[in-house]
């Protein structure tokens, strides 16, 4: 059995669209029929060799939405046809100091989707059932795909900002974009973009604004801190995002 996939063979070469073997789910794994897979700037970092030692050949893609197509041995909590999401975190060791302290994102021996395990630029993908998210409540797979990395890293940033009232986000990509849509200006929190803004980002930001906030998003270039910060008291956090 074969499937269509986009395969990364070598640094500096275009990806190739080809027939590859249909993967079989191993113990504890699912095979998912991919409905949508979003692109992420991390994909570019892998393609450019900035993230070392990818699995090669590699199927990229870690913002995956699809439907469960086959169950591996021992999988009980999933059913065929169920919509699920697969993100960057493919598997963790479960016993390093990070895993044992609720920071499995920093696991010392992880598997990453679309980097050290094949990802979603394909018709099918295999994933560890314990690291797959249930998306039964999401009706549009294309719309849900960017949530699987950009949305998640933005969310993690927001958590990292704790009770910060004024939040600056450096690197205004999809992550900051999605989080902007979540943060409610009425809560008294303000988001600012700190970036080398491009024209396409400028125009997309013009559409955003913040609900309940008098001030639109600040885009400053090349200085990365709007003067507003100088006048505001209280804590702020700024975060580097890879979305």
């Amino acid at each position: 059995m074969k499937m269509k996939a986009i395969v990364f063979h070598e640094l500096g070469k275009p990806l190739s669209f080809e027939d590859t073997p249909l993967p079989s789910p191993g113990v504890g794994q699912l095979r998912i029929e991919v409905e949508a897979c979003a692109l992420c700037r991390t994909d570019l970092h892998i393609l450019d060799g900035e993230l070392a030692n990818p699995k090669l050949p590699l199927i990229l893609g870690h913002e995956i939405v699809g439907k469960v197509n086959a169950l591996g041995e021992g999988v009980r909590d999933s059913s065929i046809g169920e919509r699920v999401g697969i993100a960057w975190l493919g598997q963790t060791c479960g016993h390093c100091s990070y895993c044992l302290s609720s920071r499995e994102n920093l696991c010392e021996d992880p598997i990453f989707t679309g980097y050290t395990r094949d990802g979603g630029f394909a018709e099918f993908v295999v994933a560890d059932a314990r690291y797959v998210f249930n998306l039964s409540a999401y009706e549009d797979p294309i719309a849900a795909a960017p949530l699987m990395c950009a949305g998640l890293i933005g969310w993690r940033s927001l958590i990292a900002a704790e009770d910060g009232r004024i939040i600056g986000i450096y690197g205004f990509g999809a992550a900051a974009h999605i989080i902007t849509k979540y943060v409610d200006g009425k809560s008294g929190r303000f988001l600012h973009s700190l970036d080398r803004a491009t024209s396409s980002r400028r125009s997309s930001l013009a559409d955003l604004g913040l609900p309940g906030s008098a001030a639109p998003m600040n885009i400053r270039q090349p200085s990365w801190m709007p003067p507003l910060y100088l006048r505001q008291s209280g804590r702020w956090s700024s975060m580097r995002l890879n979305g």
Binding site: L15, A38, F121, G151, L152, W155, T198, L230
Partner: protein, 74 residues
């Protein structure tokens, strides 16, 4: 990955903080996907057929589109 631009020390005076984030935990995923659904977060997407991956990557590099590029196998 490019350098972060420099800025005056005064901007982080008074114990202000700069932090980075990496990856996700499963708790992040479960929390966020529930909250995003409840909040009705809408994404902006630009679909490409799977076979157009190189074009989508080129467009992402050059900042050609707004929103997120999404590959759709069929």
């Amino acid at each position: 990955m490019s350098d972060i631009p420099s800025f005056p020390y005064s901007l982080i005076w008074e114990e202000r903080q700069i932090a980075s984030v990496a990856n996700l935990t499963r708790k992040d995923g479960n929390d966020f996907l529930e909250i995003a659904r409840q909040a009705g977060v809408k994404t902006s997407t630009v679909p490409y057929p799977l076979e157009a991956a190189n074009e989508a990557i080129g467009d992402l590099r050059s900042g050609k589109f707004q929103g997120a590029a999404v590959l759709v196998p069929r």
